[in-house]
Symmetry: C2
Subunit: 182 residues, 2 copies
């Protein structure tokens, strides 16, 4: 499958089978994060792999009641470090660098038959408390649930179709692309 096809077919998985993620798949996914580019090669990311059931269940409340966070066999809590560093453009490098690494993981997961859901809706303080992330200088940028989709092939097909129909789900290119000037 080409990278573009992985991108086109991927959708957010919010219902997981209890089936564990194979070590070699998790390894490949983490390598995808590790090899990501970052601002000045700062590698200002850290990832906490949560598989413990109690911790995952506790994360449900911290993610505003998302039960699938408790059901997914793996939850990857993606953190930024050196969070004071800004690029000349004014953006904090850690936010963008962690996002790059997370997207790499989401794509490699999909290619290996695994689903993810990228969460930004969580109470950061609560997540930090649950996982003993101390220090103002560390931020939780996103949470990635990881596992096998529990959706039937039929329903998966429907969702993919919906995602692939630009009129339904994505703006057309001429809305999002401009030429030469704004």
């Amino acid at each position: 499958m080409t990278v573009l096809n992985v991108i086109k077919h991927r959708f957010s998985v919010r219902k997981y089978k209890p089936k564990p993620v194979r070590t070699k798949d998790l390894y490949a996914i983490l390598e995808a994060a590790r090899f990501a580019q970052s601002s000045n090669n700062l590698q200002d990311w850290r990832f906490i792999i949560v598989r413990n059931e109690n911790t995952r269940k506790n994360l449900v409340e911290a993610t505003k009641g998302k039960n699938f966070v408790g059901e997914a066999p793996v939850v990857i809590v993606c953190c930024g470090i050196n969070t004071n560093h800004k690029m000349t453009c004014g953006q904090h490098s850690y936010v963008i660098d962690v996002a790059i690494a997370m997207e790499n993981m989401a794509l490699v997961a999909w290619e290996r038959g695994l689903g993810t859901c990228w969460l930004g809706a969580f109470y950061e303080d609560r997540v930090k408390e649950l996982l003993n992330i101390s220090g103002e200088d560390t931020r939780v940028v996103g949470i990635l649930t990881l596992g096998y989709s529990a959706l039937s092939a039929k329903l998966s097909g429907k969702i993919q179709k919906l995602n692939l129909n630009p009129k339904k789900n994505r703006l057309p290119l001429d809305t999002i692309v401009k030429y030469e000037t704004w």
Copy 2:
């Protein structure tokens, strides 16, 4: 090539051939951005494709003197809109969403034999002025140069080797990954 191999082999290209980018390649790259996931499917990204030589040359100064910005046949200026929107975790969605779309573009470009360099070192005000990006609500998150690498195969191989040697260029997994807790 697997997605993981694209990620592992990709490196930032800072020297370009004048050879133009084929329309079908640019189209595939933009589709990679368009199909990216975003917070609440906001699609809070806009992309300006700059091919005009004068504009590219003007962008050199705005990117702190990076001559390759003037040499790359295509420069994609990646903007965020609705920039007041924050996710529950406290991060602005536009920064992360634009980063996801940019990474998708960088990976699809590489798979199609094209190099990119992701720039965060630019004077945003100057870029906005040059491209008539008005409004405080629009931010330039990153700039992606795009084109064929002018490096010899031998030098490209060396760079790839360097990138692939974790001891040289990337922290080991056990530094960036933690299990169950920080």
